[in-house]
Symmetry: D2
Subunit: 297 residues, 4 copies
């Protein structure tokens, strides 16, 4: 499984909660079933948009189980099993592996950010990759972790036989080019935000794990399809059209916004878990208008 | 217990690990016994310096249990039971309460930092304080969380009957003064870094939860004692003398540095847990020199 | 002149100083003559790479004069005439206009950055544009100013009849797309860093003011030429090849690095002005290696 | 003059402009005359609160001249003569010296902030101090420059015979303590913000260059007087009372706020120069309320 080559769009799946804050596994499973009919390459369970930091281990494993059971058979299943400690990351990743996950997306540890220098990150990912039963992908998301993985770290880790790729959620295209210049060709360098999706494709990136793909999977997929068919203008047009939606469901309104957009577009958004706050009515209205303007509803 | 008035020095206790990364409860208990003979007002178990983010629940509860059992009877026992989700924070805090902890130090949730605005933080701490069986203290540590609690939040929360204080680890003295101007007198505003200890005392602060108190508890206590006796110069002199040690065991060398200093000064430092890295030999030597210069060894 | 449509590559020209720190106008003029033979669309005198903040007014005007006199006749001449005050900016811009400059690149005022909100920036650029005799371009360079022009500001100002474009030096491609979504088609949105050059072209950007164009003008131009001919792969290859050079002569070694690269590649680099420091020998050697690897020498 | 020992409060004097944006020298001179009757140790002309970056050289020299002519004879006159280039800083400082300024407060150059490392700053201040006819003080104000002078730089420069002190406007008290640990006793370490005034006094600081001293000079002076008389509580009370005023006239409302407070309290505020914006009516009202609450009106 180590030479997985990832191509296409993967949603970092939202986790619907019910009103009292419990995970609504039923709604989650229904989402996966619906996404099975969309043009997606796989699923990421337990990403940042899954409110993973709010889930306990039991909930995490149950979500993984449902994903594995419900996903269309040819689809890649990734799970975000990074914990702060090396030990716990290895343990959780191996539990995920047993449940049938294909590869693990491992967040950079970040609480002691000042100490997570290149040496520490290289050691961490090496320790994890050496001790887990599935391939590892690096997850770089400074927006949440306030840590940015350096090209030096990417260069070193991309040589590890069990580290097969990276999700870079910075949207920093020049940095992406820098990463490209230091990795072997087989290394799966993916973007982690739809805001960088079209530019990344023009640079040769083949896959994106895109929050926007929760509510607009086919539009995300079409950007890639049209680009690869040689229809750059068409691809760019779709990208530019859904770009403001992506802004709304990430930077501006966050997960509550993404979930509301999902609800409006036929998926199960559900509630967010506290301490996240639900959207106010005027925020909901704004999202609606943005979706309409983007011709998504 | 709600009208706890905290006065004195409290160490955010380190967690010694053994070489293979397991918590060494024996070494931990020995530390508590040793600190029992020092001039301390209480203990914080599961603070940032405890590598709490690297501990699983079982380990956390065991450390709490040992602290409660081992601590000298008149000492205040605080536990850091903040989790990212409101739900998990309440659950863990109530487990800690059952084990005999006197009050909970609750970290600001921070992963979705962009959404942790005043409204969300006020809601979070209110929800927690409403649902836990022991008093709550706010823990503000932007160095790790990249979130800074505003004076507005402090003002609102300091009125909650079950929120009795705050540990502010910023070392930002003007901000401390701002906080003082909005809180009721009974609210326990504590500093969370020895670098601000003497200045905070001159402003009327009565307690400090100080990493440095792990390895130099009595020096920390003497700063306060001398100041309160009217010996400002003596207090200032001790403060200035140990100031560079505090820099070394926090900003410069972090927890590994703090643990090494503990080992040199007669406490059990133990290993750090991965992904934290042990000190290199030259770093150890520098810490030694700093301790010697500060007349601690 | 207001409907200038800018297309192609423009170097933000370096200012060679001699050893005692005086501007070496002769070396400067020689550079312009050499660039006249390169595939460039115009010149920016008094950009950030010109060490403009180190120049007094007399020097600035002399450099403008030489540029106007020396530049090939069909080339666009831009001058960076932004000062901190509205008044001084207007005065200097009109002096530049009298000397024959075609348009002014106006930096955001930034010293009182906390006060340079959208309202202040809109007012500032409007006041300037209303009172100067040549068209205005907005210059956004947070790396130096710690201010980032918002899409809201760009949207408003792009409607001003005398504000004809913008140099965005952030390299932030998603932000560029956001800007594109709010400007009229005639507005000249240019990138200000070669690190974003190819991706920007794929998004429809037509011009770049690129530090790298000081020392590698034709490679910068070829990226665009090949892209527009439909040779995306060729364009991307050149872009990727010179990308590390751009890193070296901007982020890593700064203006001293850029000047040294210019000297190695046949232009007159000259000395930097103090307080900038000259490169150390090992830094010079590294730049040389980077140029060789990029096949520029 | 090199062994100047500075003690007391110094206002970084505002520059009143008239409605069309010209310096109103008359209003400025009247302010100095009024301040002459206040309990001040001296004057800083051309500080950050003087809108210095908006002044041309002629205006600067005229303001210096008026200050020298108008100031009470025993008062220390400082001028902010730092420019971005070493050369221009030396030239302007020597012009100021000729006009009778006692010492120069030299801002860290900052436009190319990434290059202003310890080596560059040490070289810069050394070059300046070596070539000017009056003593030099370092001006550290990261709020505007985004550069923070390190303890290492302070240590080195404090040994230069012609560098006699520093204005640290960070309000960072632990950093102040760090600076104290590396400087000779004769070095004038001053705070540059009233928010740190009382804590700094408790640490042995002897002088403050305080924006607040423009509108509330005597309250600032009383904090020091009472503290030195042994009335710490009284000193602290005044400090705490005017603290919110300082917040308002610096962080919240900036120079426009400071000027409005000056106008309300009997000094000539005048207009700000563009691009700074005047206060809105509701902002003016808020400042008024804050002054009333602080018992300044």
């Amino acid at each position: 499984m180590t030479n997985i080559q990832i191509k296409g769009v993967i949603p970092p799946m939202i986790t619907p909660f019910n009103e009292n804050g419990d995970v609504d596994y039923q709604l989650f499973a229904e989402n996966v079933e619906k996404w099975n009919k969309d043009n997606l390459a796989g699923y990421l369970v337990l990403g940042s948009n899954s409110e993973t930091v709010y889930l306990n281990e039991e909930e995490k494993l149950e979500l993984i189980k449902i994903t594995v059971e419900t996903a269309k058979k040819d689809r890649l299943i990734l799970a975000g099993t990074g914990m702060e400690s090396t030990k716990e990351t290895i343990k959780l990743t191996n539990k995920a592996a047993k449940l049938g996950v294909h590869a693990a997306l491992i967040l950079t540890p970040f609480y002691y950010g000042g100490k997570m220098n290149d040496e520490a990150l290289i050691q961490y990912f090496t320790d994890v990759a050496d001790n887990v039963d599935i391939p590892v992908l690096i997850y770089n998301v400074p927006k949440f972790t306030h840590i940015n993985v350096s090209a030096n770290v990417v260069e070193k880790l991309s040589r590890h036989p069990n580290i097969i790729g990276m999700k870079d959620s910075t949207g920093d295209i020049p940095q992406l080019v820098k990463f490209q210049s230091v990795i072997p060709e087989s290394f799966n360098l993916m973007v982690g935000t739809a805001s960088a999706w079209y530019p990344a494709l023009t640079l040769g990136v083949k896959a994106g794990i895109l929050a926007l793909a929760n509510c607009a999977p086919n539009e995300c997929a079409m950007v890639q399809e049209e680009f690869e068919k040689g229809n750059a203008d068409k691809a760019k047009e779709i990208y530019a059209r859904v770009f403001p939606v992506n802004q709304a469901v990430t930077a501006t309104y966050g997960i509550a916004g993404l979930k509301y957009a999902c609800s409006l577009l036929g998926y199960n958004g559900g509630y967010v878990r506290k301490p996240l706050l639900e959207l106010k009515d005027e925020e909901k209205e704004k999202i609606k208008q943005i979706l309409i303007k983007a011709e998504l509803m």
